[in-house]
């Protein structure tokens, strides 16, 4: 009986076979392998040996990791502020433009930085911060503040703020699109009612826009947190975590442990913890979003 039902659906399974073959090989197996190897000693040469919670004990005592946590905290806080506030302001300004043509042109212009490959964007900022010919130093000199010149990414005091400054003024991108789409979807009669009642912009902003954009804000917050925790490519290229440990972060620590020192087991454990943190945020977001949809 069951076999007959399965046989009748053979085409369905056949259609899904390639998908699950790929997923099994490159997604499911690695995911379980990552979970398993977090609890093993796994060095460059040789196979993995289970070693219980040893990797986690080591993490608790890892001075480098401890210092990297503080950097990660500031980077997270900064990227949340960057993606939650500036794009929302820009979206509001675009939304209140009278001319829809101008609105469209401006929106497209704000998205143009995306046509530059991510790594080029990162390298360009390295160029802006360059001590010899960097735009920032040149601009400071031009306005008579030449004494402030420094190697922004090479100076222990300014490296982390400089990394945070990348992408200034942080106006465009995905967050802007999501906010703008959210604003466009606001119920028209609500907006009309508020303007008939003579609500000022700020009254409307706090009473209508913010509550109704909460879904977008949560999505953006979670995507930002996940993205920031995982993105170490730009740090690898710009600073390598330095100078000293000034821009070191846990994901970079994981990368170095694995691909520089060959401690794959220990690196897997770091990856496992980062995964748990990410998962917590993702699940929290899903509950928020579903709760939100039920209200709406």
């Amino acid at each position: 009986m069951i076999l007959r039902a399965l046989w009748r659906s053979r085409y369905s399974y056949l259609f899904l076979l390639p998908t699950f073959l790929f997923l099994g090989l490159f997604n499911y197996i690695p995911a379980f392998s990552g979970l398993y190897h977090a609890f093993t000693e796994w060095e460059t040469s040789g196979s993995a040996h289970p070693n219980g919670l040893e990797n986690f004990r080591r993490m608790a005592q890892d001075e480098f990791l401890r210092l990297s946590l503080a950097n990660q905290f500031w980077l997270l806080l900064a990227s949340l502020l960057k993606t939650l506030i500036v794009p929302l302001m820009v979206a509001e300004m675009l939304f209140h433009l009278r001319s829809s043509r101008l609105q469209q042109i401006m929106r497209t212009l704000f998205l143009t930085p995306m046509i530059v490959p991510g790594m080029v964007g990162v390298l360009l900022w390295g160029f802006i911060y360059d001590p010899n010919i960097g735009l920032l130093n040149n601009a400071l000199t031009a306005v008579g503040l030449g004494s402030w010149n420094r190697a922004w990414l090479g100076d222990w005091h300014t490296a982390l703020p400089a990394v945070i400054g990348i992408g200034f003024p942080w106006a465009g991108g995905l967050a802007l699109l999501l906010y703008l789409a959210g604003l466009m979807a606001l119920p028209v009669d609500l907006l009309a009612a508020s303007s008939v009642d003579g609500a000022t912009f700020w009254q409307r902003f706090w009473a209508i826009d913010i509550p109704l954009l909460r879904g977008q804000m949560k999505t953006i917050a979670v995507l930002t947190i996940i993205g920031t925790l995982q993105d170490f490519g730009s740090l690898l290229v710009l600073t390598g975590g330095g100078p000293g440990l000034a821009t070191h972060v846990p994901a970079l620590h994981m990368y170095f442990q694995a691909f520089r020192f060959g401690h794959y087991g220990y690196a897997s454990a770091i990856g496992f913890v980062l995964f748990l943190v990410t998962l917590t945020f993702t699940i929290a977001n899903m509950r928020f979003v579903t709760a939100n949809e039920e209200i709406a």
Binding site: L16, I29, M106, G121, F127, P169, A171
Partner: protein, 289 residues
């Protein structure tokens, strides 16, 4: 009243233009400095290029053209794979009924919660060991072919990961099509594969365009994976190649920046044709999960 409204508009437009100018600074700097020699950059930083060194673009092309072509090659094959798998699976989940459908679909959804950071190391260790076994074909012995340090070490995992989001989008799209469309074909005795090919696929061009653009963008911008699985410069991708190039020519800024401009051209073309689909993809709501 009217006057005040016009004032508000003027303030808004000024603020937006100011923000736009600030956003464009790195890119204007890239274009201007890419045409200036070191001597010009050091002594006349703020002046336009005089003379403009167009030859830097030839230099940059010679150094980076190969990387760019490699990336486009990898991106095209990845997109083909993702579109084929995602549309077929999306169609199956949306329009066919079979035991275990929900379970399998949740199996795919659950992958959205697995961050790349967890699977990076194990996938690398797996790919390092993976190989096509030796075989005899046309009277010759072939292989074994190792996967690591080949383009397939990029393409295959990219297809696997890229299809997840694609399946979500395709499933949503195919579910929105009216059932009568498929019913009629079934009554005419068309096979499931025929219905997928003749009816579902031709209707799904917009959603496929969206997936193609999102996939190309993520392939083009990926840095860490090619960095660890590709050691042969001849098949390296642009993101990694450009960091090496920036290192080699570190003291010759013009050609380095010209290389950045060249590397942006494929994405420029992509957006020129598909900005609309890209915006649809982001705002479609599929990202909310």
């Amino acid at each position: 009243m009217r006057n005040r409204q016009m004032q508000t508009q003027a303030v808004l437009i000024t603020a937006l233009i100011l923000l736009l100018i600030l956003s464009m600074v790195p890119f204007v700097m890239m274009l201007v400095l890419s045409l200036k020699s070191n001597a010009q950059i050091f002594t006349h930083f703020w002046e336009p290029p005089k003379p403009a060194r167009w030859d830097f673009y030839i230099k940059a092309h010679n150094a980076l053209g190969g990387y760019i072509a490699n990336t486009v090659y990898v991106a095209v094959l990845t997109v083909i794979g993702v579109l084929a798998l995602a549309s077929l699976a999306g169609y199956t989940f949306a329009r066919l009924r079979f035991p275990g459908r929900e379970l399998l679909y949740y199996g795919i959804l659950s992958l959205l919660m697995i961050p790349g950071i967890l699977t990076l190391i194990p996938t690398f260790m797996l790919v390092k060991e993976m190989q096509l076994p030796a075989f005899v074909f046309a009277g010759r012995a072939w292989g074994p072919f190792a996967l690591i340090n080949t383009r397939w070490a990029l393409i295959l995992p990219y297809i696997a990961g890229g299809q997840v989001f694609g399946i979500l989008l395709c499933r949503g799209f195919f579910q929105s099509l009216p059932e009568e469309l498929f019913e009629a074909a079934r009554l005419d005795g068309a096979s499931e594969l025929d219905i997928y090919r003749r009816i579902a696929l031709p209707l799904s061009h917009p959603i496929l365009a969206t997936i193609a653009i999102m996939t190309s963008l993520s392939v083009y911008n990926d840095y860490i994976w090619p960095l660890i699985v590709i050691s042969d410069n001849a098949i390296q991708t642009f993101s990694v190649g450009v960091t090496k190039f920036a290192g080699e020519f570190n003291l010759d800024y013009g050609p380095t920046l010209a290389g950045y401009v060249l590397g942006s051209i494929p994405l420029l073309l992509l957006f020129a044709f598909g900005m609309r689909y890209f915006i649809q993809g982001i705002t479609s709501g599929a990202l909310k999960g």
